[in-house]
Symmetry: C2
Subunit: 338 residues, 2 copies
């Protein structure tokens, strides 16, 4: 009987502690990806570019469409590769003619990007649709003109039907190309065990992960890494101390010196870290964040604990059927690799 009583007391305590941790997490602004489909759809939808199945399908095709680059060789998926965490796994983005990003910027993940307040490291795009227009045209990325992008897609007859299904008529415009890509990207969300926990499943996180979450909140990480995206707001960077690798590249954030907080979802799968991809070791990254942003020297134990919590943020990557894109026609503008 004694043993049973002790067990009951232990379980009740542990349950209460979990419940209080859940509350703490919610108070810290951490929010789950909704499990309810309608609720999720409402959250990820853009009233100016309403989601529909045909648009998402078309957007997927265009996301993988290399003919949307001047060279025919680069697609959105080149730098935001859905096979490897929605990133490219290199420090600095590489595009047309093997040009590296002029500010030495790292490609952020497209997974859960819909939950970011703004897009691009300096937050200059208000949403995914606006963002998608950038890399297509950027000389060091896909290097295509709006005109050529439209000509390329328009030259392949099956696309006309798909635009009609997605937008109501056959008209192919650069904005619609980006809108379809944006619509697809809105669906790239990765629910994780952490979401289950926030939704009330106390067993979704291991004891060590709960400890990590506690440290994460108590140390102040969640003051920037919060919301559904565990990131996504514009924040001054660095705050407390200079950034150790600030000499790599010349990026200094937006006009106010603010940088978009990266999402922590799938963070263990999206190395290297920071806007300039300077750090490969997540533990080093956490340590640096403690110093530059929180003015705290985190102990190794604290860092380990926080990183253990990150395991719970590994989400379920959506299953993607690789598209079968149409063949070029004689009307299709030729690729230019120069």
């Amino acid at each position: 009987m004694k043993k049973t009583n002790t067990l009951i007391v232990f379980l009740t305590l542990s349950s209460l502690l979990s419940a209080s941790l859940m509350d703490d997490a919610k108070k810290a602004g951490l929010k789950p990806i909704p499990t309810d489909k309608k609720e999720l759809n409402k959250l990820i939808d853009n009233p100016k570019n309403p989601l529909n199945d045909a648009k998402v399908r078309l957007g997927k095709r265009l996301y993988f469409e290399p003919r949307l680059s001047k060279s025919n060789l680069i697609s959105c998926n080149t730098c935001h590769n859905l096979a490897i965490g929605g990133v490219d796994g290199v420090e600095v983005a590489v595009g047309h003619k093997w040009t590296t990003n002029p500010h030495h910027l790292n490609s952020p993940t497209v997974f859960n990007a819909v939950f970011m307040d703004k897009q691009f490291w300096d937050g200059r795009a208000k949403d995914l649709e606006e963002q998608a227009q950038g890399p297509m045209q950027a000389k060091p990325e896909m290097a295509i003109s709006k005109k050529m992008a439209v000509e390329r897609i328009s030259s392949m007859p099956t696309y006309k039907k798909e635009f009609k299904k997605a937008f109501g008529d056959e008209k192919i415009t650069f904005k619609r190309i980006a809108d379809a890509i944006g619509a697809f990207e809105r669906t790239l969300v990765t629910p994780s065990r952490f979401d289950k926990f926030l939704a009330g499943d106390k067993k979704a996180l291991s004891k060590a992960e709960k400890e990590g979450l506690k440290t994460f909140i108590s140390k102040g990480c969640s003051s920037c890494h919060n919301g559904v995206g565990l990131g996504g707001s514009m924040q001054k960077f660095p705050i407390a101390k200079p950034y150790k690798y600030s000499s790599i590249g010349d990026f200094k954030g937006d006009k106010k010196g603010r940088v978009k907080t990266p999402t922590l979802r799938n963070i263990l799968k999206t190395a290297p870290y920071f806007h300039n991809g300077a750090v490969w070791d997540i533990k080093e990254a956490v340590k640096i964040m403690g110093e530059t942003q929180l003015g705290t020297k985190l102990t190794d134990k604290e860092v380990d604990s926080i990183v253990t919590f990150f395991k719970a943020l590994n989400g379920k990557i959506p299953t993607i059927t690789y598209p079968k894109l149409p063949a070029v026609t004689l009307k299709t503008p030729k690729p230019d690799i120069k």
Copy 2:
């Protein structure tokens, strides 16, 4: 009654003609992709690298694996993109550091490559497994060393399990990496209406396509474009007249001046044409082939007819689930984009 009789006579005649065309096609050495799974498996299997589901699955992952390139940016799928006919849609292959193929060679399609007698334009690899070792190591392609390829893959723990399932033990070698890729590539076959026709379905081809097939055979195209692959043998090139675009690149074939005959399967989806990718218009390509290889000046009508037949060679592209690849670890050798 009269009308019915005429119809019967017409149908019988048409049926007889189709039957005779089928015979002619078979006599010309044209062979179908077997519909029977066992028969197909026997045809595509390599006794030295026997197919099994786990190996094909692993091979698919490695086919899409950018960490198999020095830069982390290039996979087999970059130049043999399964979304666009198994090719890259550019005249000349582009690889590491945006280097173009030094001989200005065009990337041939990976679809149905299993049916080729040899691999590479000069036929220097005996099979797909041997071929796969080439581009990974080639400086203008993926530019990785055998050692680094093995280190990269070995550093990601889930691969070990997959190698065990595929090969019986966890050992990861460069040969096994290429063997798994080769196994996957062996499954990339695209049965078409032409195969149905050869298998006895007289209605699988339209009247115009049958006419085209007749022209294709009578003009001698099938003297090189034959077998299951409608191509794949090493042939002297050019034979009858100089190749119009021979000044593009310096490729002159193997030691005997022979070039691998490209497959005609999905040929309408794999522009540009020829080893140096000089021609985008399939009609021009057919005309040139008539002159250089057959010493025949094909009329526009004959060219049109042959190209109409090619429609029947558009095959069913296998449906591919885009892989979810493992994350790098701290042990994974870093990418080098230089």
